[in-house]
């Protein structure tokens, strides 16, 4: 045991910032069946601050067969109490509460219960009408919602979020901002001071490629009327020039720094003003509306406007960055991070300091703008937390994004099924088409229609399986027709799908619930920590063929 921190293995992913956000969260779980308790288990273990379980059932024999958070001695007790107790026992850092009430009744009787201080709502196996109502309340109050479902061999995780500000999106490939196409004066001075011809061999082979490129790019610009390489031929010429600047050493070992320089030459014409579109979109949004953050990417048909809330410190920080960019010819604040490269220690450390100093200066300029904006709104200087929010935005300016999904209301009223069904055309294999997750999405919608009409799930205990399957088949045909994409599903959907839905009889298999609980908790962590990129918007796991897909209907 070389550490006493039980969170060590996850801190390496989401860091202290993420952990703090998680610890400050309060998660509401509606429905304590296996999908719900498995999701909560994966949030209690990593240290979510508080949870509340709402469930109206009493523990039965069937629960013992698919829910890990009940024991034989709990049979007959309220399921909310038993599961909350055993979930809390997983981690002494976590506070747990429960309430014995049917989630459907709470949603109907106290529509704004979900807005009473919860960071996130997880709705497990909610009946269709209640889920729709809950979706609307969460949307109106800008409370993130994850709706989950384990249905036979099918699992669904649906995220609804109206506006989520993500700064640390942690892209897989870091987009280093090295400013080679628009060097700042200190970088240019360092490049000027590099005497490539007069250096000893050992120094030449250890000059950081960034300085080599800065120097050669400047020479190019001087001889090309101030322009960087533009055409393909010019770019090739520049690359050859870089490669040609390498020395042939007596050892015959090629100079790795010049190989790096040649590979990274494109950085000399990559415009640092060009940001990823998500970052640019938020910056534009913040410039246009610094005080009133806009809603998500898509509005909702006939839903209420979000309550007017003051902009977050992060939004003001992004607006401050926008103002900084306007004052600096479109250049964002420098992040200051430098990738590792072949270099001697002293040159590399000096280069790191050069970039860090410039980043500090840019951040200070942004902070001045930020402080002025806050002073205007609140009359107070930035708090330590607010200043930290600004620093984080400056450091990750290329990674920021606003996350918003379609609303559940829109999905239910007008599913974009045609778009999602294009997946069907990616394969000619009939067997694969039949198992495409989007087909099972349609089948589950048919099951919902059946439930809404009859108040029971197809294939429930004692049901006439053949009759229920026929009714589901009718609903399935009606659903794809109403969604205006019967053609796309023609020849793919068969009676077999309806029969399978009836066979499932809304059974909650533990393994499927655990898949759902895993994905849902992962998305919950992303939403609570405001890191990485959450799903948009439905993940459907098909446990028949073990295929899965994101469906954005």
């Amino acid at each position: 045991m070389a550490t006493d921190n039980k969170y060590d293995r996850q801190l390496r992913l989401w860091g202290a910032n993420g952990q703090r956000a998680l610890a400050e969260s309060h998660v509401l779980l509606l429905g304590a069946g296996p999908a719900g308790t498995e999701t909560l288990k994966n949030l209690v273990l990593p240290g979510v601050g508080r949870f509340t379980v709402v469930d109206g059932a009493t523990v039965s024999e069937a629960d013992l067969g698919n829910n890990f958070f009940v024991r034989p001695e709990d049979v007959g007790r309220p399921r909310a109490a038993a599961t909350a107790e055993l979930l809390k026992e997983l981690n002494p850092d976590v506070e747990g509460f429960h309430r014995v009430a049917r989630p459907e009744e709470v949603v109907a009787a106290e529509p704004d219960f979900v807005a009473s201080g919860f960071s996130l709502v997880i709705a497990a196996q909610l009946e269709p009408a209640a889920l729709q109502a809950l979706g609307e309340r969460c949307w109106a109050n800008n409370v993130p919602l994850i709706a989950i479902r384990a249905y036979g061999l099918l699992g669904v995780v649906r995220l609804q979020v109206r506006r989520l500000e993500v700064v640390e999106s942690k892209p897989d490939n870091v987009a280093w901002d090295l400013r080679l196409a628009a060097p700042f004066p200190e970088l240019e001075a360092a490049a000027d001071a590099l005497d490539l011809d007069g250096m000893a061999d050992a120094d030449h082979a250890h000059a950081p490629y960034v300085l080599v490129l800065a120097k050669l790019a400047k020479a190019w610009r001087v001889s090309h009327g101030g322009a960087s390489p533009k055409t393909r031929a010019e770019k090739d010429e520049f690359r050859a020039l870089v490669a040609g600047a390498a020395r042939e050493l007596p050892s015959k070992v090629p100079e790795m720094n010049f190989e790096e320089a040649s590979n990274e030459a494109y950085r000399c014409w990559a415009d640092p003003r060009e940001l990823p579109w998500e970052a640019q979109a938020w910056i534009d949004d913040a410039r246009a509306a610094p005080d009133a953050p806009s809603e998500g990417r898509r509005g909702s048909v006939g839903s209420e406007a979000a309550p007017a809330a003051p902009p977050s410190a992060t939004h003001v920080a992004v607006a401050s960055v926008a103002a900084f960019m306007d004052a600096h010819g479109g250049l964002p604040p420098l992040s200051g991070a430098v990738p590792d490269m072949h270099a001697d220690t002293a040159s590399f450390v000096a280069l790191q300091k050069l970039y860090a100093a410039r980043a500090d200066a840019d951040r200070a300029a942004c902070l001045a703008i930020f402080a002025a904006k806050l002073a205007e709104a609140t009359g107070a200087p930035p708090t330590a937390d607010e200043a930290a929010a600004l620093a984080l935005v400056c450091k990750h300016v290329r990674d920021v994004k606003l996350v918003a999904t379609r609303s559940l209301a829109d999905e239910l009223a007008a599913p974009n099924l045609g778009e999602a069904a294009t997946a069907l055309f990616e394969t000619d294999d009939a067997r694969e088409k039949a198992q495409a997750p989007v087909v099972w999405y349609a089948a589950l919608r048919a099951a919902d229609r059946f439930f809404v009409k009859r108040g029971a799930w197809p294939g429930a205990d004692g049901a006439d399986l053949a009759a229920d399957a026929a009714a589901v088949a009718d609903e399935l045909r009606a659903f794809v027709t109403e969604a205006d994409c019967a053609d796309a599903f023609d020849g793919v959907l068969s009676e077999a799908h309806a029969k399978e839905i009836a066979r499932f009889g809304a059974a909650e298999l533990h393994a499927i619930a655990a898949v759902v609980g895993g994905v849902a908790s992962q998305e919950a962590v992303k939403v609570l920590a405001k890191q990485y990129t959450p799903i948009d918007h439905t993940y459907l796991f098909n446990g028949i063929a073990a295929t899965a897909a994101i469906i954005d209907v």
Binding site: A2, N42, E61, A62, G65, N67, A343, H510, A511, Q522
Partner: protein
């Protein structure tokens, strides 16, 4: 109690195992199928860590009643963020027994039998008693050994056909790393095996020694220097105990001093542990997903109640969720599953010792550990017993042309595989220039 499972097993379907692209049998809906799960089927879980804890729970709550688990590790405090069968009071106890005791207490219809030890310590008879194996291991070596053990249990005749189908023990294997993971189904002799996909498990990343020693730039370089250069100098007779806070603190402090000397920022105790122990981030959610996908496959393979994963599912959860299911093809010269003999082009002047070295290490094709080589007529080099090692040691310095003829087949055994598993390689002589 298993009323949810019963619906799947007692009702007919159009999507039984026989309808899938990896068909393993024909489904017949009946209560007998359920009874097979709850009273006959014997499952081995390999690993009682992040995946193993989940797998045990998922199996128990799918109705499986006779489960064995094997693991050599003891519980560490850093396991507690995901290995939910363990509590702070269990730190230091064996994982296998602690996990088994928890499941046995929580799920009274299930009996988990614990085995504390390495997978390599069990023999063929042990593995042959199971209907299916579900593995959640954190290392490639144990997976390779287990995979070749299970493949070897399915005996084949001279034409490569399985003699007795009841000897086929499916292996469902999971693995995770941070928000990524994979689940796969291996039907010995029928699908690709773990060895077929060895290339997709790259060896651990290391830093070049010259960078560490001469031009350190990153905190990682300073930490590696403290571990690989300073420690052996200070403690020539003792290797680093990565579980000892004293040892790790020593490395941290030495690395910190070196970093200060070179003006390098970022050496922390946490980073020191990460580098020295090659720590891979791990979270509850990914383990839950991958384990549950594996157990769903075990359930379907044992009951035939639905189609099977054919054969590999990749899961990436950082940005949205990307899942990709595809058939991992057999490698046609896989040393474990392929009947085709792999040909190795060698120079006749190559020394036997050089040939052996070329089979070992992270960059070699076969990634062996300590191979022994024989031909049909003689031992070329044997590690054991001692007398034979001494008798064959002189061969290491001899050119191959003195030991074998062109196109001779040699048999290779290695600790990475079970004792009775051997590889056959054909040595084809090439002229110096071509080699």
């Amino acid at each position: 109690m298993y009323s949810n499972v019963d619906k799947l097993l007692t009702r007919p379907t159009s999507f039984g195992s026989e309808t899938g692209s990896l068909a393993v049998g024909e489904f017949e809906a009946s209560p007998e199928v359920r009874d097979f799960v709850t009273s006959e089927c014997k499952v081995l879980v390999v690993g009682a860590g992040g995946l193993g804890c989940e797998i045990l729970k998922d199996l128990a709550l799918s109705g499986f009643a006779d489960i064995h688990v094997i693991d050599m590790d003891t519980i560490d405090v850093s396991n507690l963020n995901r290995q939910f069968l363990f509590r702070a009071k269990d730190v230091g106890s064996p994982k296998a027994t602690t996990a088994a005791a928890f499941i046995n207490a929580r799920c009274p219809k299930t009996t988990v039998t614990a085995h504390v030890g390495k997978v390599q310590e069990k023999d063929g008879d042990f593995y042959a008693q199971f209907n299916v194996v579900c593995s959640g291991l954190d290392n490639v070596e144990a997976r390779r050994w287990l995979n070749s053990m299970l493949v070897s249990l399915a005996e084949v005749d001279d034409d490569g056909n399985v003699v007795d189908p009841s000897q086929i023990i499916p292996m469902v294997d999971g693995g995770t790393e941070g928000f990524r993971g994979q689940a796969r189904v291996i039907i010995p002799r029928f699908t690709s095996c773990f060895e077929c996909s060895l290339d997709s498990f790259p060896p651990q990343k290391t830093y070049p020694m010259c960078t560490i020693a001469e031009t350190p730039r990153l905190p990682e370089h300073c930490i590696s220097y403290a571990q690989l250069v300073e420690w052996p100098k200070a403690f020539p007779d003792k290797s680093v105990d990565t579980d000892s806070p004293e040892d790790m603190t020593w490395i941290f402090q030495v690395a910190e001093a070196r970093a200060r000397k070179f003006d390098i920022e970022g050496v922390t105790y946490m980073k020191t542990m990460g580098v020295v122990k090659n720590i891979i981030p791990a979270v509850a959610s990914t383990n839950a997903v991958v384990s549950a996908v594996c157990v769903n496959e075990v359930f379907k393979l044992m009951t035939l109640c639905s189609q099977s994963l054919n054969t590999y599912m990749m899961y990436m959860g950082n940005h949205g969720v990307y899942t990709h299911t595809f058939e991992y093809k057999k490698k046609d010269d896989c040393p474990i599953t392929s009947a085709r003999v792999r040909t190795l082009a060698v120079a006749p002047t190559m020394l036997l010792g050089t040939l052996i070295e070329s089979m070992c290490g992270p960059d070699s094709d076969l990634r062996l550990k300590a191979p022994s080589l024989t031909t049909a007529s003689q031992s070329l080099y044997m590690r054991k017993p001692k007398a034979l090692e001494a008798a064959t040691r002189a061969n290491l310095g001899k050119p191959l042309s003195e030991l074998v003829a062109d196109d001779d087949e040699i048999t290779v055994t290695d600790a990475i595989f079970p004792g009775d598993v051997s590889l056959t390689l054909k040595l084809s002589f090439e002229c110096e220039e071509a080699a």
